[in-house]
Symmetry: C2
Subunit: 229 residues, 2 copies
């Protein structure tokens, strides 16, 4: 590719400072933000960006931007900055979103159905390929092109589509029991919308989205603001 013609020779570029090095979790959480804003920047016609610009967009210092990227190698160009397309490819590679992830949705109630219709997942390379519900009146219905299944064949269904990640949108009371089934069936990443702390083995990662908690954090800030002046 022309785009990469002016890369320094590989031999002079650090690819992975300490291979297998563990990345600070603060860095990983910013990686997604960098990616989102870089993609927007490119849509707006940008081709290169420097650490000050990127820092300004995200509200952090330029030093932090450079330090974050330094975790993964050298891909900046002194005097120029970073080539956006190259940086995007690197970040996607690190996050593992340089492929399409098949995802299962478990729980097709109110929220689950909305998530099925939500186009934002596709945006970054996730595709909901299976939908499950334990309610017999839901099973068999088709929503957003997917036929809702019961959980009786979970492991086989997941294996058929090589699914490793699940979105959990069941009631809080059912969450832990369903999670145990998911883990047994080979799921290792769970996006949890149920407002409960799930207990899972170390090898399984849970990302929590608790809407009431987000509102509470807002409430704290709003009260503080009201009391201020």
């Amino acid at each position: 590719l022309f785009r990469f013609a002016r890369l320094r020779p590989l031999s002079r570029r650090k690819q992975n400072p300490i291979p297998g090095d563990t990345v600070p979790k603060a860095v990983v959480s910013r990686l997604s933000l960098y990616l989102r804003e870089l993609q927007r920047f490119v849509r707006g016609g940008g081709t290169t960006i420097n650490s000050s610009q990127l820092g300004e967009i995200l509200g952090i210092t330029a030093a932090q931007v450079r330090k974050d990227f330094a975790c993964f190698g050298q891909f900046g160009y002194p005097g120029i900055g970073y080539r956006c397309e190259e940086l995007i490819a690197v970040i996607r590679g690190i996050l593992g979103t340089d492929r399409i992830w098949p995802v299962a949705l478990v729980g097709c109630g109110n929220l689950g159905q909305a998530l099925l219709g939500y186009r934002g997942f596709g945006r970054q390379g996730f595709s909901v390929v299976l939908a499950f519900d334990s309610n017999p009146t839901m099973v068999g219905r088709t929503i957003g092109g997917l036929t809702i299944r019961d959980l009786s064949n979970l492991a086989d269904d997941l294996a058929e589509y090589s699914v490793r990640m699940a979105i959990l949108a069941v009631p809080a009371s059912a969450a832990q029991q369903v999670v145990t089934q998911l883990v047994d069936a080979g799921i290792t990443g769970i996006l949890n919308f149920a407002p409960v702390t799930l207990s899972v083995p170390d090898m399984v990662t849970v990302a929590e989205v608790d809407l009431a908690i987000e509102l509470e954090q807002l409430s704290f800030a709003v009260v503080k603001q009201l009391e201020k002046p």
Copy 2:
């Protein structure tokens, strides 16, 4: 109240170590988790809990639990622990959820409608009292007991219900423009579901829920797990 009969006299209890002291944000984000788990513990019949138990539930150290609470005063009982009901009341007071917050929903598409039906908000004292949409074909419809309004009377509508917080579920392309209207109309807290960084004045707080970003974080963990053994 009998419950408070055995409190040490107020004169001997530190209420607010350095009044107006600024609370570390790491602490605020844990406060909501403490609250959630305490409420569950109480539903299970618990009346007192100590820092080790609470730490175990949340996966943090007992020292951190005590240090967090120490930001707000002394309400533990040496030799006993914390009285759950008392602790819950204190945390709700700090977060500002010792009242009912009226909230506006802006954007009544797929996700917005699901949020209207979501019971989780009510759980912690938030009540959606207004729903808005800019699409004329949506305006006037009734969903979950609320009639969808257009944005032409925003400031008056919000003032009528003393609304200071909004849930933003509009498309990314419309988000910034709607936010400007909301801020002008007096909103100071925004729960943003649109995958864009919003620009707001300092006095306004934004909590972000970006589902693609959550999935990316999972992807990173799942890939790392796959590469491990």
